[in-house]
């Protein structure tokens, strides 16, 4: 999973350090600058997933940076959270109208900002906010109904999809054929247990990608399990 890339534009270096540390420990990839011009350059050279922007920075004002980010095609749709020391409603409204997605009023706790960032990312790029399931080199997006391995889309049928989804929801655990029939086919299905073998085979075939090793473990006389590769 690629870490969400944040661009933090903040000229209070103590605060910037604190936030950088906190966000990085939460798995974000953070770049920091105190300067509006530099912010534009950084954003241009590697488009971030989200920008945290202090309203009051040296040089170009925060609101101006916001406007410029919106104007560039690359960054037009990158969500922006503004940090503002002001309580004035006018400023908040103006920020939103300029194209900020959200703002947080100082003082705030890192925890609150984290929650906001994650809420915004969840909206914009669900895949970044953990709505996908990942097990080893497999990634499953339930909303798009897609499974990929090592970045490669897998071609997978309905039953195999349900099967691997179930496995990915319970990695490492061994399931008997009976359990799999209940979970994937539905309780009380009248299907031969041997049939599970066939679908396991089909699943294995479907998830085979550049001869990577088979992540489905056969447990003799017990069932099957998915092992993170």
């Amino acid at each position: 999973m690629s870490a969400p890339k944040l661009l933090l534009v903040e000229d209070d270096s103590a605060l910037a350090e604190l936030l950088k540390y906190r966000f990085e420990s939460e798995g974000y990839d953070v770049r920091v600058t105190a300067d509006g011009e530099e912010a534009m350059m950084l954003a241009a050279e590697d488009t971030p997933d989200l920008v945290i922007l202090d309203w009051m920075i040296e040089g170009v004002s925060g609101i101006e940076v916001c406007r410029r980010l919106r104007r560039e095609k690359e960054t037009a749709h990158v969500p922006i959270i503004m940090l503002t020391a002001r309580e004035a409603e006018d400023d908040r409204v103006r920020g939103l109208e300029t194209g900020a997605d959200d703002y947080v009023t100082k003082p705030f706790s890192p925890r609150e900002l984290l929650a906001r960032v994650s809420a915004v990312l969840r909206r914009v790029r669900p895949a970044l906010a953990g709505e996908t399931i990942e097990v080893g080199d497999l990634k499953l997006d339930p909303v798009a109904h897609r499974v990929e391995r090592r970045g490669r889309q897998l071609q997978i049928g309905p039953t195999e999809y349900r099967l691997i989804k179930f496995f990915m929801e319970h990695p490492r655990r061994v399931f008997s054929r009976g359990q799999l029939l209940d979970a994937v086919w539905g309780t009380g299905s009248e299907i031969e247990e041997r049939t599970v073998d066939v679908h396991i085979r089909r699943l294995r075939k479907a998830i085979t990608v550049d001869n990577a090793r088979d992540p489905i473990r056969t447990v003799r006389s017990a069932g099957y399990a998915l092992e993170p590769v």
Copy 2:
């Protein structure tokens, strides 16, 4: 352009009236309830575009309503703005973590709430705010009611327009025929699900341009999705 549908869950009837009036005069279509259970029912029968939810309501708590909305497939992705009288950071963070997209602390001005609503809608469903949407090589202008692909105007019928607009507002996501009927034809339409196939076919035909590849993905036994080309 169809008016964005808001669901307001607020038990202070004076405030509810005020907001309803203000939002309606801005062109929104507003439904109001003071009750959590009823809110769920209203949301189920006609999915709103955005929910404004008071944290403290009678019966089920706001946060519980939020959680339940997120749990239902139909409403899982509807943005939620919470209204809270509390300043406590814990509550705000909890709100965001439960799945709210934003919150506004009372007291607030209708103007600020309007700005927030419009910011959230712009982020989530640009077409509702009158902005053009681009998905891959498709471009849709909701004001002009036009769709183009690779700069070429598409000749497209009313139903197909609504269909592709819906798809472009939710790219990549897979929708069942039932969901599409609800979203595009209107809730409770008595139309054959197979008819969706026919319109998908017509849409595919309409958006075919210099034999570019078909951006509509068929997900067998699940539905259809629009993939950016």
